[in-house]
């Protein structure tokens, strides 16, 4: 994966290659796909858990001031 293994060789080359991250030139598209999956997955997971939480809470029908009995001292 290492794009640079020797800085002297790298910087003294006739044309210095700019991209120096691991896997430069071969992994970018895969990384974008992984990133998009991670992002969309977050929405899916959190949407599901939020819906469950809201349904659960809605069923209990607490009053507007009931939360005050939950206020902690610390």
């Amino acid at each position: 994966m290492a794009t640079v293994t020797n800085w002297i060789d790298h910087l003294s080359a006739e044309e210095v290659v700019g991209a120096i991250y691991p896997g430069a030139g071969s992994t970018e598209t895969l990384l974008v796909i992984l990133g998009v999956v991670f992002w969309i997955g977050w929405h899916v997971i959190t949407a599901k858990s939020e819906s469950e939480k809201l349904s659960r809470l809605a069923k209990k029908r607490h009053g507007a001031n009931d939360h005050k009995s939950n206020i902690t001292d610390w």
Partner: protein, 466 residues
């Protein structure tokens, strides 16, 4: 980077934008504090997390496609030809400022020794994106789902505001050429669009339970923590300094840029690459802040919440032309914007039963809109760009700044790219039952379960220490 002066210029520019990004981070800190301070106790933690999630959601989508949109869309597409390739299509060719270099899988969207500017410039624009989303966040507190807000934040932060930036902020934008649009520090490009977007969402979302009486009279649900609101707004002011600096190019030789033979003219420029000075915009920033605060104190009768917000509205209103205004012009424009936006807020609230919890539509939307219109009169005749001066509707040259162009620009920002998409997306989310939290949860408080868990934990700790 093979001569010292060139290297210093590049690295200074890189560092300059980096500093603006750090400063602008305070805008988001301020928005978080402000929103939590404005919300009721039983919604605090949810309110905070909702706005905090703007950071990752807008950042990753800005990386995946937002930045690309900015560089691809200046031509419309199909409205006016690019000065770089003379085509009206999306700019995706091999030219220097093409979107081709900002696709998420290119080597320039990473550590690259051959490009020391893209990352910090990307980040500066990203912070603008957070701001756009965060403006919307405040207006809709205490009743929207986090899922819906996430979608809306991405829509405004990584899509719609970027389209308007490509059209009206990019040096090659069609609105500059056809309308003579000028908006140096984003009265419209950030604020009017975000305010309009928030209004579009609010129309669908509806007011908080109890905001209006059965006869339709609005009730005041004031900030529950005025000190958090105060510090939050001070931080937004502070971050706004960074925003102003980020809208400039710090050092640029306009001689060769404009094709002036033998002329060298190093200067700071605004985002349109026309000359201004950091010193000059500092005058105007402070004077428009002052004009807003003074006017806000009067119209709000000393109410701290509105007075602080008015300082912000003053800056926002003058921002379109703060690269060129006289400081006293900036002050007066800031004051006018505040009076109009304050009056509009209460008129819209009463007339249309719109519950804008923090006044975001007024402070950002109306003030930004008014600022654009005023700019058209005060800067009437100035060139909207340094590259070429032409007539309105010409399309291949740049029209001068003018009142009609600015008014049309304000409508595009607030209405076409702001309010309309906000309304449509909110309607879609509502149709799927994903927009608003259940009534029972709104009454109980979004933090009910967290607070209940905390109480149980406290009991357990207390019993263990007996």
């Amino acid at each position: 980077m093979d001569d010292q002066l060139g290297a210093l210029t590049v690295i200074f520019t890189e560092f300059y934008y980096w500093v603006t990004v750090v400063l602008m981070f305070l805008i988001h800190v301020g928005f978080c504090m402000y929103e939590v301070g404005a919300s009721r106790y039983k919604h605090h933690q949810h309110t905070l997390m909702k706005n905090t999630m703007v950071i990752p959601l807008v950042t990753v989508t800005w990386f995946f496609f937002g930045w690309w949109i900015y560089w691809a869309f200046p031509t419309g597409p199909g409205i006016a030809p690019s000065i770089m390739n003379e085509s009206s299509a999306l700019i995706t060719d091999e030219s220097t400022f093409s979107a081709k270099w900002y696709v998420a899988n290119t080597e320039f969207m990473a550590v690259n020794l051959g490009d020391r500017i893209s990352g910090v410039f990307w980040a500066a624009f990203l912070l603008f994106s957070w701001t756009a989303a965060s403006i919307v966040s405040g207006a809709i507190i205490e009743r929207i789902t986090t899922f819906a807000f996430g979608i809306l934040a991405i829509a405004i932060g990584s899509c719609f505001w970027v389209i308007d930036a490509a059209w009206g902020w990019h040096f090659d934008g069609w609105m500059l050429k056809i309308l003579g649009y000028h908006d140096a520090y984003a009265s419209g490009v950030i604020h009017a669009i975000a305010g309009g977007f928030a209004l579009g969402v609010l129309i669908v979302l509806g007011p908080r339970i109890g905001k209006f009486s059965s006869s339709g009279e609005p009730r005041n649900i004031g900030p529950r923590n005025p000190w958090l609101v105060t510090v939050g707004l001070f931080l937004i002011y502070t971050g706004f300094w960074g925003f102003y600096a980020a809208c400039n190019i710090p050092i640029f030789d306009l001689g060769p840029e404009y094709g002036m033979e033998g002329v060298t003219y190093w200067t700071a420029t605004n985002i349109y690459v026309t000359p201004t000075t950091l010193s000059g915009i500092t005058y105007n920033f402070l004077m428009s802040l002052s004009g807003g605060l003074l006017a806000g104190y009067v119209v709000a009768k000393g109410d701290p919440f509105w007075t602080y917000s008015s300082g912000l509205a003053g800056i926002i209103c003058a921002s379109a032309g703060n690269d060129l205004y006289h400081p006293i012009q900036a002050m007066l424009i800031g004051a006018i914007g505040v009076v109009i936006s304050y009056k509009m807020h209460y008129w819209v609230e009463r007339k249309f039963k719109i519950d804008d919890a923090v006044g975001a539509v007024a402070v950002h939307g109306y003030a930004g809109f008014v600022g654009l219109v005023i700019c058209g009169f005060v800067l009437n005749g100035y060139p909207s760009s340094g590259y070429s001066v032409g007539a309105m509707w010409d399309g291949s040259t740049y029209a001068s700044i003018n009142p009609l162009g600015q008014f049309l620009g304000a409508i595009i920002m607030f209405g076409v790219l702001g309010m309309l998409p906000g309304y449509v997306i909110a309607r879609i989310l509502s149709a799927f039952g994903k927009l608003r939290i259940p009534r029972e949860v709104e009454i109980a408080g979004l933090d009910y379960e967290i607070m209940e868990d905390d109480r149980e934990a406290e009991k357990a700790v207390a019993s263990a220490t007996r």
